[in-house]
C-alpha cells in the first residue's frame, strides 16, 4: 500500500501510518484548494456588487443624459412650465407639470380604490378569517399581483372604459378614471398583503386581552390591531403609491397621450411613463432633444419613486411598535 493514499481513504491501519496533524498539513498544502477558498469570496463580492453597479448605472445614465437635455431646454421651463408640446413643429415646449399632473390623477384614483379595499381585506384576513379561509384567500389575492400589467392595460381599455362610458356618457375613450381604477386593482394585493403581515405581527395576547375585556372583534381590529400596525400599513400604502406612479402599460394603453395641466379626469391625459413609451415606440432619432427628454422625464419619475421608497422605509423603521 502506498503512503500517498487519499486522506479520506479507509484502508486498515491508515490512521497508524498517518497522524491527524499530518493529514491536516497535507490537506492545507494543497495549493489549489487554498486558492479556491481565497478566490471565492472575492468572486462572490464582485457578483454582489452588480446590484450596486446597477444603481450607479441608473443614476449616471439619468444624470448625464438629463444634463445634455438641460443644455438645450432651460431647467426652469422644464420644472415650472405648464405646457408639454415636444412634437410641435413651430416651437417645442418642455414643461413637465402636465405629465406630473397626469401621473397624479391616475395615482389618486388608484389610491382611492386600493386603500379602502386593501386595508379592509387585510383586516378581514388578520382578525376575522379562520386559518383555513385565510389559507385560501391570501394566495388568491396574490394572484392579482402576478398578472402582467399589459393584461391589466387590455382589461382597462376593453372592459372598464366601455363600462364607465355606458354609465357616464361624458367619459372619453382615453381617460384618467379607467386606468386609475385598474392600477388600483393591481396594487390591492400589495397593500393587503403587506398590511396583513404588519397586523399579523401584533401579538395575539393583546387581542385576546381586549376580547376578554368584552370588546367585539371590530373594536379589537379598530382600536388595537390597526393602531399597533399603523406604521406597516402606512408603509404599504406609500410603496403602493410608488408602484402606481411607476406603472406604465396600463396608462399607455388606456389613458391616452394628451399632456394636460388641468383637473379633468374624463378626457385623455398623459403620464410620465406613458410619454417615455410614446417616444420609444416612435422613431425619435438618437441625439434629438426629444430623445434626451425621455431621460429627463425618467429622472423625474425616478426621484418621485425614490422619495416614496425612502419614506416607506423610514416610516416602517421609525414608527414600528416593538413588542
Amino acid at each position: 500500500m502506498s503512503s500517498h493514499c487519499s486522506p479520506f481513504g479507509v484502508e486498515r491501519g491508515f490512521i497508524m501510518r498517518q497522524s491527524v496533524q499530518e493529514m491536516i498539513a497535507q490537506s492545507k498544502g494543497k495549493k489549489n484548494k487554498q486558492f479556491v477558498e481565497k478566490m471565492i469570496p472575492v468572486i462572490l463580492f464582485l457578483i454582489a456588487s452588480v446590484s450596486v453597479l446597477t444603481t450607479i448605472g441608473i443614476m449616471l445614465t439619468l444624470i448625464f443624459e438629463t444634463i445634455t437635455f438641460f443644455t438645450r431646454v432651460s431647467i426652469t421651463d422644464f420644472l415650472f412650465g405648464t405646457t408639454w408640446l415636444p412634437f410641435s413643429n413651430k416651437e417645442a415646449q418642455y414643461g413637465i407639470l402636465p405629465l406630473i399632473v397626469g401621473t397624479l390623477k391616475v395615482t389618486l384614483i388608484a389610491i382611492l380604490v386600493a386603500v379602502p379595499i386593501g386595508i379592509s381585506a387585510a383586516i378581514y384576513l388578520s382578525d376575522y378569517a379562520s386559518e383555513n379561509v385565510r389559507r385560501v384567500l391570501k394566495p388568491l389575492l396574490e394572484v392579482l399581483a402576478g398578472i402582467p400589467t399589459i393584461v391589466y392595460g387590455f382589461f382597462a381599455l376593453t372592459f372598464v372604459t366601455p363600462l364607465l362610458q355606458s354609465a357616464f356618457p361624458d367619459i372619453k375613450i382615453f381617460n384618467a378614471i379607467s386606468p386609475g381604477i385598474v392600477v388600483g386593482i393591481m396594487i390591492i394585493p400589495m397593500i393587503a398583503s403587506l398590511s396583513e403581515d404588519a397586523m399579523s405581527s401584533v401579538p395575539k395576547s393583546i387581542r385576546e386581552g381586549a376580547l376578554a375585556m368584552g370588546s367585539t372583534k371590530f373594536e379589537v381590529a379598530w382600536k388595537i390591531t390597526v393602531p399597533a400596525a399603523l406604521s406597516g400599513i402606512i408603509a404599504s400604502v406609500v410603496l403602493a403609491v410608488s408602484r402606481a406612479i411607476g406603472e406604465t402599460m396600463i396608462v399607455s394603453l388606456a389613458a391616452g397621450s394628451t399632456p394636460k395641466f388641468d383637473g379633468d379626469f374624463t378626457g385623455s391625459i398623459q403620464t410620465m411613463t406613458a410619454y417615455i413609451v410614446q417616444v420609444s415606440k416612435g422613431d425619435a432619432g438618437y441625439g434629438t432633444t426629444i430623445y434626451y427628454s425621455i431621460y429627463a422625464v425618467g429622472f423625474t419619475l425616478f426621484i418621485f419613486t425614490m422619495i416614496m421608497n425612502i419614506i416607506a422605509n423610514y416610516v416602517s423603521k421609525r414608527f414600528r411598535e416593538e413588542y
Binding site: K33, E37, I40, P41, I43, L44, F45, I47, A48, V50, S51, V52, T54, I58, T61, L62, P116, I117, S120, A121, Y128, L137, L140, L141, L144, G146, P148, T149, I150, V151, Y152, G153, F154, T158, I188, A192, G214, T216, F218, E219, A221, W222, G246, T248, M249, S252, L253, I276, V277, S280, K281, Y286, I294, Y295, G298, F302, T305, M306, N309, N313
Partner: protein, 292 residues
Amino acid sequence: MRYIEHDTVVRRMNGRMVVNTIFKSLFLLATLAALMALVILMYQIVTQGISHLSFSFLTNFASRFPDQAGIKAALIGSIWLMAVVAPTSIILGVGSALYLEEYAKQNRITTFIRMNISNLAGVPSIVFGLLGLTIFVRALALGNSILAAGFTMSLLILPVIIVASQEAIRSVPGELRDASYGMGATKWQTITKIILPAAIPGILTGSILALSRAIGETAPLIVIGVPVIIQFLPAGVMDTFTALPMQIYDWSSRPQPEFQQVAAAGIIVLMVVLLLMNSVAVIIRNKFEKRY
C-alpha cells in the same frame, strides 16, 4: 345578589354587536370585490380570445390581417429571452445571496449593499429600460438584440432573486453547517455540498416567480426598441426578436376591434405560460417543503 345583569349587558352590547357584524360584512365584501375583479378579468379575456385561439395562431407569424395573425415569433422570442435571463439572473442572484449570507462581514459596505438591493426593487421597470437602452443597446452596441433585452430583464428581477435566495439560504439549519465544518470541510465545500443542495428548492421557487415577472414585463422592451412585426425566428442571442407582451401590446393598441380578440388570444397564451411556470414553482415548493 346578581353582579351582572344579563339584560343590561345585552342592551349595551347589542349596538356594538351590530356595528361588528356590519363591519365584518364590509371587510368580507371588500375582499370578495378584489377577487371578483380577478374573476371578471379572466372571464373577459377568455370569452374574447377563445374564438381566435387555434393551432394556427401558435404557428403563424404576425400579420396585418387579424384572422391570419399568429404568435409564433413572439412565443419563440420570449423563450429565447428566458434562455438569457434565467442563467444570468440566477447566477448573479444566488452569488449575491451567498456573499451576503455566508461571507459578508457586518460593516458599512454590507449594509449599503443590502439597502441598495431593497431600493433597486422599488425602481420602476421603465427606468431599467432607460438603463438598458443607454448601457446595453448603445454603449455596448448590442442593439435591440435578445442579449441586450435579456441583460436588462436580468437586472430588473435581480433584487427579487437575491431576496428569495437569501431567505432560502438562511433557512438551512445551522446544525448542517456545523456538522459539515466538524467533518473538516472547508467553507466552499460546505456551501456547494451542503447549503446549496438544501436551499435549492427555495431558490428555484423564488427564481421561477421572478422569471414569470420578467416574461410578462413590457415597458423595458419598448424602451429598448424591441420591434413587433417580425417575420422570422431568431437564430442566436445577437438577433433581433419580439416577445409575448410586446406583441400583445401592439395588438391591443390597434384601432380595429378584430385585433382586440387577437390580443385576448395572445393574453391567454401568456397566462398559460405563466400558469405553467407557477405550477412548477408550487410543485417544487410542496415537494421539498419542511425537509428539516
